[in-house]
Amino acid sequence: MDMLAQILSSGIAVGMIYAVIAFGFQLTFATSGTLNFGQGEALMLGALVGLTCVDTLGMNYWAMIPVVCLFGMLQGSFVELIGVRPAIKIKSEFGWIMSTIALGIIFKNVAENVWGRDALPFPPPLPMEPMSFLGANILPMEILVVVGALVMMLLVEFFNRKTIYGKAVVATANDRDAAGLMGINTSMVITFSYALSSLTAAFAGVLIAPLTLTGATMGGALGLKAFAVAIIGGLSSGMGIIVGGLILGIVETATGFYFSTGYKDVPGLILLLLVLAYKPSGLFGKSAIKKV
């Protein structure tokens, strides 16, 4: 029972991180039908920039968060401008897939050269003594991860639903051509969705960093698994990614515990393959009717 509670609590924290990154995938997919294959690298850069702010510049953890968010927005806009916009213009799917992968590789390499190849510890903002809860040891940081992830998603949802700028995003997501005809600058909206997407990833980076180590290679696996979550949940379902994230986080923690940590990435990826084979629109997604 204690073990189960432990696995659940750790799994939920990891799962929420996946959900936040997956949320970033959803944002760009909705507006432009494209995904940033370098999403994991956006998270990694956010974490490393955060580390520099805290360590080198001596900033407070909480004061650093807005700086990292701003950085994330700039990074996301850059990716959209260099990698995605030209591809959308020439309607080349291959183009944006390859160019976001290429940008991801470049970011990782730059990070290696700036911050070094070693994984670095991130000073935690909260005490690292575990609290006992229902027999499980829970770190205060894990609670912060869950709360932070939920708040971030709710803020973006609130923005989309209640503000006029958010309405532009939703309109573009529904029908880009019609939105363009209504005077919405859709290419700006797409850039903005990339900025927002990288912002959530960078934020997720500084949330998870104190729990793991920070380094240039931290992003790759996270990005891929977040994609698995986005697919499992459905690329259009907000509820789906939270459920998908939790499923994956818990399954993974359990695998790491009962088998070996070496295998812990495997079940998530197999789940991804199974969902795509049987219900490509995701567990919570709606399938589209093809028009001929």
């Binding site: 897939i97 290429a102 470049i106 495997v266 990826l269 795509l276 490509p280």
Partner: protein, 644 residues
């Protein structure tokens, strides 16, 4: 004589490969050349998926690893000889390719890229973790294979790899030029039309992945012996990206392109090890691109705006190379930068670019490829299989109260139809009345919510589009669905796919069965083109044909399927008056062969002049049926068309 000339490059390559170990003493260079050959084999296979089927695969590093480890494990644990490990590697990897294809079938584009990426990641993790089988991170050591009791020398192994590469080249070339290669390209250009031509998209995607994986397995096996040591870290996702870069950079759908791409990705890392060499090469590239741009500008082929960014990019790269002290750390960035340049400025690869550049500079227009000419049309070929006058007037197709519901919308609401053999049945109605939905139900693209469709007394509900097509229902599409990048002749050959019985072995060895089928199909395709008056455009890519010709080509392609029932969805839309006259002639001629029609059309004069019976749909319901003249006078029909 022609034949010898076209084989000349191949012969030169063979001579070069035999000669290389004799004249190059340094084993390092032989090993480099060997690695290039091995990557070339893999890229032949990857090109089938990327170039021909048009899908992104990031799983080929994983497949390459599976091939290597199959050989490594069989050698290490069981001591198998090379002649057994090569086929084993091919088969095992091909099976994994089939497994990869299963989830990949239902998804396209970015999903597929991620699926294959996930597959590659899983493969690498498993190789790393299953130490009892793979020795885990320690890796497996191999020795060069034995030949007649003694271990091969490096040169001998190089010759073996070279011989296998040449074989692979011939086999791939034959595959992609056969009906199989045409099926791959067809499913890339229009999956829907491909299914409706009786070529199952599902089946051929799996076949493409399996063949492609087989080549990856072969390459992996040869690589294991060549390196004499394998470890899991080699087969990472960056290698998969590298393979993709090689394919795009070299040039898709080109064997030469694959070889160039392989050479680039093998030599590039070596180049990037040496800062001085890199500076020289970066400068040369910058100069060549700049000169090329100036030349192109002076001949007014391109505009300053278009060349500005690539020129700035390569000049920047050269400047960057002089700023750097050590290159090793920045290798991946340079590599990423190259992908960006290639993706946007070298989409057709070096081979494609060289071709267009050469044509532009010399001022020649693009010559169409293909050997078919209008002269060698054999007019005696029986191009329409006559269904004959069997049971004219009997019921061929029966639609029983079909309901097709999309959410709350009833696109078809309890519609009954009865189509008699040998007749032309018109289906008319205002826009959005459900005519095209009916076509899609009949051809299996939609599965009706309720009701039944009986074709020759058999239900077609639940059958796949390609099964229905093969049972004798062919169609054209309202918005033309040709295979755009294929020639008019090839489009028809896809329709004739069902006439091929030959298998992969027949194709690889060019056995008589395959050669005969290919020759017959080509003759019949030319005859069909002549029938619709397109014989002079046989070698033109379908997307370059004028709209009216495209519609005629679609009809000819549908006829290639030997249908009993032909569904034409607005064949006269966008046609000029003389074209319509020609269309009517063609329709009547086909009907005289006993083929039954369902004709959706908005041109009332067309409908009234050829149809035997007309059904009218409005808001998903049948509101009238009868002889053209009767329907024309029907109150309800007039009301539906003109309102109030």
């Amino acid at each position: 004589m022609m034949k010898l000339k076209s084989h000349l490059p191949l012969l030169a390559a063979i001579v070069g490969l035999i000669g290389l170990p004799l004249f190059v003493e340094n084993p390092y260079y032989i090993h480099l050349a060997e690695t290039i050959l091995i990557y070339t084999i893999l890229l032949f296979g990857l090109d089938i998926v990327v170039g021909y089927v048009g899908q992104v695969s990031l799983g080929h590093a994983g497949l390459f690893g599976i091939g290597s480890y199959t050989a490594g494990i069989l050698f290490f644990h069981l001591g198998w000889p090379v002649w057994a490990t090569i086929p084993a590697s091919i088969i095992v990897t091909a099976i994994f390719g089939g497994i990869l294809a299963l989830p990949a079938l239902k998804v396209i584009g970015p999903y597929l890229a991620m699926v294959t990426l996930a597959f590659g990641t899983i493969a690498q993790i498993l190789i790393n973790e299953m130490s009892w089988l793979t020795e885990g991170p320690l890796g497996i050591k191999l020795t060069l294979p034995e030949l007649m009791g003694t271990t091969m020398t490096a040169s001998e192994y190089f010759w073996l790899v070279a011989a296998i590469t040449i074989l692979a080249l011939i086999v791939v070339d034959r595959f992609v030029k056969s009906q199989m290669g045409r099926a791959f390209e067809a499913l890339r250009d229009s999956p829907v039309a491909c299914d409706c031509m009786g070529v199952s998209v599902y089946r051929f995607k799996v076949i493409a992945f399996v063949i492609s994986a087989g080549f990856a397995g072969l390459a992996g096996c040869l690589y294991a012996y060549s390196e004499q040591y394998i470890s899991p870290n080699t087969y990472n996702n960056e290698l998969a990206v590298l393979f993709l870069l090689a394919i795009i950079m070299g040039g898709r759908k080109s064997r030469l392109g694959a070889a160039i791409g392989a050479a680039i990705i093998v030599l590039l890392p070596k180049l990037l090890d040496d800062i001085n060499l890199f500076r020289i090469v970066a400068s040369i590239i910058a100069i060549v691109v700049t000169l090329g741009a100036v030349l192109a500008l002076s001949k007014k082929i391109t505009t300053p705006k278009r060349v500005a960014i690539p020129v700035a990019g390569v000049v920047g790269l050269a400047a960057f190379s002089f700023w750097l002290n050590s290159i090793a750390d920045w290798r991946l960035s340079i590599f990423g930068f190259m992908i960006l340049l290639v993706v946007y400025y070298l989409q057709n690869g070096i081979v494609g670019f060289a071709k267009t550049f050469y044509l532009a500079i010399t001022g020649k227009t693009k010559t169409t490829v293909g050997e078919a000419t209008a002269e060698n049309t054999d007019s005696s070929v029986d191009f329409i299989s006559a269904v004959g006058n069997k049971n004219t007037g009997a019921e061929l197709l029966k639609v029983e109260s079909v309901l097709m519901q999309f959410g709350g919308l009833k696109a078809l609401n309890n519609v009954d139809l009865s189509i008699k053999r040998g007749t032309i049945h018109g289906l008319i109605g205002p826009n959005g009345s459900g005519k095209s939905t009916m076509m899609n139900v009949l051809t299996g693209i939609y599965i009706p919510t309720a009701g039944n469709v009986l074709y020759a007394d058999e239900s077609v509900v639940g059958k796949t589009s390609s099964e229905i097509a093969l049972s004798g229902i062919a169609r054209t599409f309202q918005n033309v669905q040709l295979f755009g990048e294929m020639t008019a002749l090839q489009n028809i050959l896809v329709g004739l796919h069902h006439t091929f019985k030959s298998n992969m072995l027949d194709i690889a060895l060019h056995l008589p069965r395959y050669l005969r089928e290919e020759r017959d199909a080509r003759n019949r395709a030319m005859a069909l083109l002549k029938f619709v008056g397109l014989e002079d455009l046989a070698n033109e890519e379908a997307r370059n044909l004028p709209y009216g010709k495209q519609r005629l080509l679609e009809i000819a392609r549908a006829l290639a399927l030997d249908p009993e029932l032909l569904l034409l969805d607005e064949p006269a839309a966008g046609l000029t008056a003389p074209d319509i006259k020609e269309l009517l002639r063609i329709i009547r001629k086909i009907r005289d062969n006993g083929i039954t029609f369902i004709l959706i059309e908005h041109h009332m004069d067309v409908v009234m002049s050829v149809c035997d019976t007309v059904s009218v749909l409005d808001f998903g319901q049948k509101i009238a049926e009868g002889k053209p003249a009767e329907v024309q006078a029907d109150e309800k029909v007039i009301h539906a068309y003109l309102g109030a």
